[in-house]
Symmetry: C2
Subunit: 190 residues, 2 copies
DNA sequence: ACAGACATGTAAAGTGTTACATGATTCA
DNA sequence: TGAATCATGTAACACTTTACATGTCTGT
């Protein structure tokens, strides 16, 4: 149940409502873990029930009622114990790679266009990560212990995207060399 | 339902039983998609029911009874149509990255050791992929259209593992530089 | 005789996605 | 007044993992 641990980490950084957490999962926390608000609200309730979180209601301040969660001692303990466990080595899971593998049983030209689409999408994501890095970590050498871990994760994102783009470019090049996978000629509009 | 498409791709390459497919998901098909035999048997039954697959029983040949599945025309059509659809751009999902991010709320020394463990696991996987590449694709320039796609996927695996290892090394280096994350001194056995 | 590979399945629990549902506040 | 954002939730469905269950064949 890694979502639970992602929530523990995020609340250890700063107390938050379910809504806040959902926003964080759209941002930096979401580089390597995603969650919808539906999942989050349910798990928050469960974790409050099990005593790992405590909620404080902020009602009547003008805005709609917020339930702000923070870690209890039990929650902090659970988080600490989790960091001591070895992480199972993950295999990536990519529908795109499956499609590459099956390209000859379908429409190779369409798959080639899909490779270009993927490359563009990952270029955009890389640009975003690089901008975040420049904005939040202009001097990585000088980072203190507290700010180092999020930077390390961002570096992972940058490496992942860079590698993905290079893979797409390599595939396009190899497909271009192969006469059975002709480059689609595009209609130039005058 | 990407597992369905992974099965369609694999059966398009060669007809197989559920057991065979489970073996393939342990091997090259599994570089980017995993599935257990439990999942496979259930989905095969469902796909036979929906007319995308046809099964042939091979009983009494001495070995226990095998049900060999192959694509029907409807299955081939479904596969073809799927290759024409753009693939949704995936975000990676990594419990390990979450743990990095939370390292300061737990045991940083244990997480550092976990980084080393991950690096070793990915080094081993990279070595395996490189051996596969050398064995099956000694001359990538000369690959024909039919054998190019699995090679492209293997290249993706090699890139992914290489990037992961480099990320681990970068993290270890940055952690070593930081006095708040001391390198654990190991007891040398004389 | 026993271990290990071959071979196929069911059931239950856990996790994740999609659809549905509601209501307040803020800004144009 | 209407759209966007803030804010929380339920329900149904899809997918994955883990546990249970059974029986054959091959080699030692």
């Amino acid at each position: 149940m890694a979502l639970k641990h992602a929530i523990l980490v995020s609340l250890a950084e700063k107390a938050a409502s379910g809504y806040d957490l959902a926003r964080r999962f759209d941002k930096s926390l979401g580089f390597f873990w995603q969650a919808s608000h539906q999942q989050i609200y349910q798990l928050l309730a469960k974790m409050e029930n099990s005593g790992e979180l405590a909620a404080e209601l902020q009602a009547g301040t003008g805005k709609p009622g917020r339930k702000v969660y923070r870690l209890t001692d039990a929650g902090r303990r659970a988080l600490h114990e989790w960091t001591r466990e070895p992480t199972p080595t993950e295999q990536p899971r990519s529908e795109f790679a499956v499609k590459i593998r099956g390209m000859n049983f379908g429409d190779p030209t369409a798959v080639r266009l899909d490779i270009e689409r993927q490359r563009e999408a990952h270029r955009a994501r890389l640009a975003y990560y690089l901008a975040e890095a420049a904005r939040n970590y202009p001097d990585p050498e000088a980072l203190d212990a507290a700010r180092l871990p999020p930077y390390l994760v961002l570096r992972g994102g940058i490496r992942t995207e860079t590698g993905y783009i290079a893979w797409c470019e390599e595939m396009l090049e190899l497909l271009d060399r192969d006469p059975a996978h002709p480059t689609p000629t595009r209609q130039e509009k005058p």
